[in-house]
Amino acid sequence: MAEQRTIKVDYMARVEGESALDIVIEGDAVKDVKLKIFEPPRFFEALLRGRSFLEAPDITARICGICPVAYQMSAVHAMEDACGVKVTGPLRALRRLLYCGEWIESHVLHIYMLHAPDFLGKHSVVELAAEHPEIIRRGLRLKKTGNEIVGLLGGREIHPINVRVGGFYKIPTKSDFAALAEKLKLARDDALATVSWVSGFQFPDFDQDYEFVCLSHPDEYPYNEGRIVSSRGLDIPVQAFHEHFVEDHVAHSTALHCRLKARGHYKVGPLARYSLNYDKLSPLAKQAAMDAGLGRTCNNPFKSILVRAVEVVYAVDEALRILDTLERPDSPCVEVLPRAGTGFAATEAPRGMLHHTYRLDAEGNIAFAQIIPPTSQNQATIEDDLRHFIAPRLSLPDDQLQWQCEQAVRNYDPCISCSTHFLKLTVERR
């Protein structure tokens, strides 16, 4: 009878929300891996039914305190799709600027506070700060710049209130934008220093054969719009999402697992964006990536922290480009009149593609809403990574194995509260 080991993490730290990880090992084989999401289902989709289409950005922003902008952006674009309106020009540019703020804020929180301790053998950011206070100060400074973008354009830093279908409620003044640009110029050096710092970490050799899925836009690194593409040839408009993807219930999770009908699980997030959109990065971000030793694609999930750091350089650079060429719009929004129909949108949340679908009646009341967040799309891939990762490392003692498994989960910066529509780890050795 083979020996059975169970590694059980009942509450996973340094991820957003409540979840657990159970791993069962029998002899020298990995028997079972379950990322259990038990954050209660939150029924946002049911809550939206019967509400006005104009309320969707403010209601869905409440799904997450880390990436509310992503929810707002997917909601406004889907509503505009349903109503046949396209927001262009400076308003479009300002939406992109707002998204830059969220990427900086969310990625920097993840890199410095949540994930770097794993690579440097520390239990928390507090231990890390004790050894390298100047590094953590830099992270806090950089994150603050992201918060300031969201605060300025969004009206406040958490759950912004200035976003609406058709644009914004109020546009900041020219002098506000000029002051922001000055802060971003300083942030650019901090962002480059972040890439250089992270590039010195030790990354396990763990290239995986993923199907990457993300947005792709002809002229820009994707935030708000583009076609849904994959590394295995998928190339569809956001409106065709449900023809190619399906959500399944699994017993061990309150989050639905999303898969490609044709080929099963896939991966969204920074590695997908980077690998499929490298040529759209700014010259500075490309140079930072090359200096860090990254190729044009990256298949090692442990390097996602490095790719996030490159994306922070990009976000700072892009925010500066937008501010440099920005003409303050005459009106804070365009009029969007409701009509009966269905609207679709996907945008690139920091953790990956976030798809929204809404069906509206003629008065603009929401009859149906479906929200597919990045962590639920990645859940099966996280489990798969763990299966492959553990197999050659079975001889490790449970505590080391547990540490490395948690690190592997944090590669995804999982946002568990979003995906339920939190982590405990159990490793059982039989």
Binding site: V15, E16, E39, L140
Partner: protein, 154 residues
């Protein structure tokens, strides 16, 4: 140098609203030399709020296995009270204890940092304060008012 009172919590999660409700009440009294702030969601924000403050009083709901409504005062100015602070559970990525210890490590702690924790009963989404926590509110406010009064005279 001023006194800053920070309420922490989530208004939509029952007893977790306590810190914010306490700030609503105290702010209306306009005490001289006292500033108020809230931290909802991003606890790291307290590091910025500490800047320039001589004394900071934080109010948050906690779960330590005690009697609901019980008020605990922790002076964390000089000593890390890690065990107690761990009870300020957070579904957020960085919890209150980590934020305070990070501030200490980076030399950003105010001279005096007092944390008031109120033992919570209910964190259910959509519920109001539980009766035990609601009943503790007046007593808590009286104690917090004394904190800034003693700063002024002391």
């Amino acid at each position: 140098m001023s006194t800053m009172v920070i309420g922490i919590g989530n208004r939509e999660r029952a007893d977790d609203a306590l810190g914010l409700i306490a700030i609503d009440r105290l702010q209306r009294e306009h005490p001289a030399g006292v500033e108020f702030a809230t931290a909802r969601g991003d606890v790291l924000k307290v590091l910025d709020l500490f800047e320039g403050a001589h004394k900071v009083i934080m109010i948050d709901a906690m779960r330590s296995g005690g009697t609901p409504g019980q008020v605990v005062r922790l002076d964390v100015s000089d000593v890390a009270v890690k065990v107690d602070l761990a009870n300020f559970a957070s579904s957020h990525t960085v919890n209150l204890a980590e934020a305070i210890e990070l501030a200490r490590t980076l030399g950003r702690l105010p001279a005096h940092l007092i944390v008031y924790g109120v033992e919570a009963q209910d964190f259910t989404l959509g519920n109001g304060l539980s009766p035990a926590v609601a009943a503790a509110l007046e007593g808590l406010l009286t104690r917090v008012r004394k904190e800034w009064a003693c700063t002024k005279h002391g």
